[in-house]
């Protein structure tokens, strides 16, 4: 099968757009974050629908606005956030495999629900592999996010695809519920019982401090827990700062931290949490 390198040209980059795969492992001991998609569930869905490898890289978008033109034919599929997506001005659905022709334009407009939208592409993207991963991260890969008029490489493959009778009905409600499953973190037991109860009973609001490194919650929890000596942290580590702020570390989190690690978010719940937007409510359950 002949594969030809081709480019997607970004007329508009959208918000926090980057190429991500499952992440970069084995470099954390040198201080390099794992990175990787914020929502693995949606990435996996996109790759599955395209019959890609489960680890193939995808385009991650953290908000509306991306407008891109394809140089050559390929197939793409959207998953994750519920957004208004247009292929040459015709609205298209998430979960549907889109046959892309030369010079086709995709425009991502409004985000209705969710924080991160994924576009999988036939065979994944061909961006540079650094330390065994294509995930973009500042200082590690040449770029950390897509800028206006950037181009990203993919392999166009001339191939006959049988018409698909139906397409996967995407359930866009899987991240709707606010219950986040957690485990006790190493410093949980240093919290007084009363504080522990408060944290488990309370409903929290996602603040506007939301990015690939961490999500901060709006409500604060009074506490007198001592800072710890710098120790390893992971995506999913829940930190409690001396001012009572709760910070949930996400995929681009630093590898060590000095705030008490009170909880640890379970893997599937981390995908759900990543799709929460500022103002959304969550609660923890052990």
């Amino acid at each position: 099968m002949i594969k030809t390198p081709a480019y997607i040209h970004f007329v508009q980059p959208g918000l926090l757009s980057s190429i991500q795969d499952l992440g970069r492992f084995g470099m954390a001991v040198y201080g390099v974050p794992y990175s990787g998609v914020m929502d693995r569930f949606s990435m996996t869905q996109a790759n599955y629908l395209l019959q890609n490898q489960f680890y193939d890289s995808v385009l991650e978008m953290g908000g509306p606005g991306a407008k891109m033109v394809f140089e050559m034919p390929t197939r793409v599929v959207f998953a994750g956030a519920d957004a208004d997506i247009y292929l040459n001005d015709k609205q298209v659905k998430a979960g549907k495999i889109l046959d892309i022709n030369e010079d086709d334009t995709i425009h991502v407009r409004k985000f209705r629900k969710g924080q991160w939208l994924y576009m999988g592409i036939q065979g994944g993207f061909e961006s540079e592999i650094v330390a065994e991963s294509r995930s973009w991260y500042s200082g590690i890969t040449p770029q950390s996010r897509i800028e206006k008029s950037d181009s990203v490489c993919y392999l166009s493959e001339e191939r006959f695809y049988p018409a698909l009778g139906s397409h996967a009905k995407m359930n866009l409600n899987w991240f709707k519920h606010g219950e986040i499953k957690v485990f006790k973190g190493p410093e949980w037991d240093q919290l007084p019982k009363l504080t522990q109860n408060r944290i488990m009973k309370k409903s929290f609001t996602i603040s506007t401090l939301v990015n690939r490194m961490a999500y901060q919650l709006e409500e604060t929890i009074e506490n007198e827990v001592e800072p710890i000596l710098t120790a390893p942290v992971y995506p999913g580590t829940v930190q409690l700062t001396p001012n009572g702020n709760i910070i949930i570390l996400m995929r681009d989190a630093q590898v060590t931290g000095g705030y008490p690690r009170i909880l640890h978010v379970e893997n599937n719940s981390l995908n759900i949490l990543s799709q929460k937007r500022p103002g959304d409510k969550i609660s923890f359950s052990i």
Binding site: F25, G26, M27, A28, V29, Y30, G31, V32, V130, A131, G139, I140, F183, K184, G185, P186, I228, L229, T230, A231, P232, Y234, Q254, V255, T256, H264, E266
Partner: protein, 236 residues
């Protein structure tokens, strides 16, 4: 040895030592790490270090009972599992008020002259405990308590690459440009992190670091060499 084991979930556990920064703990951490890597290589995905922790990310699921068994095994380890050769790396630093924007303020705070601060900082031999914070950032133990300085209330927006600084009871070098709340006392011209290398750093955990004061001229020379990939690290 005084170690606790904490199981966060079936694939993530942590060994915890008493809350202090010490050579003895580092040595024990290295011993335990070596033992686990030899004994349980297939089961372990990654072992990471903190000052008083070893964090184990596993490939397999383990129970609370398995954790107790592992701890038992660790306690039965012979006292010395071998020595850990450690090199003393000489790291050039240009201490001056141009790079060390907080040198004068630090001198005031501690009632020392700038020369005295440089002397104390550069005569100490530091121990590399682990990497964290930023790619290639070394967590060093051993800062002289005369130089302990609380972090800035609000961090600087940008610390230039190579900035040598003091924060709290620690000292370190910013391996890349970054916001930071530590007090700048100089700059190191050597590149500390190179992702194109299989091992992107030079000093290994357990190695020592000694800062060597350099002139502005030598600083510029080394910076050029390092930029071209021609700088050779020196150690005792």
């Amino acid at each position: 040895m005084d170690i606790r084991i904490f199981r966060i979930h079936s694939k993530l556990i942590e060994l915890v030592w008493p809350k202090e920064i010490s050579h003895d703990i580092l040595h024990e951490q290295q011993q335990v790490k070596r033992f686990l890597e030899m004994e349980y290589a297939e089961g372990i995905r990654e072992i990471r270090m903190g000052f008083n922790t070893l964090s184990l990310k596993l490939r397999i699921e383990i129970s609370e009972e398995d954790c107790r068994d592992i701890l038992e095994e660790i306690y039965q380890l012979p006292k010395i599992l071998g020595t850990f050769a450690s090199k003393i790396w000489k790291v050039p630093v240009c201490y001056c008020t141009e790079f060390g924007k907080d040198l004068e303020k630090l001198a005031q705070i501690h009632q020392l002259s700038i020369d005295e601060i440089i002397k104390i900082h550069s005569e100490t031999v530091y121990t590399l405990h682990f990497y964290g914070f930023l790619p290639g950032f070394m967590y060093l133990g051993g800062l002289d308590e005369k130089l302990f300085t609380p972090r800035k209330r609000s961090p600087e927006r940008s610390m230039p690459v190579g900035t040598v600084a003091i924060g709290g009871k620690q000292t370190g070098i910013y391996p890349s440009e970054s916001p930071g709340g530590w007090h700048a006392i100089g700059q190191c011209p050597v590149r500390l992190f190179d992702i194109s290398k299989e091992i992107p750093v030079i000093p290994a955990v357990g190695d020592k670091i000694k800062f060597e004061p350099t002139t502005r001229e030598v600083f510029v020379e080394i910076k050029q060499l390092s930029h071209q990939g021609l700088y050779i690290w020196h150690h005792d």
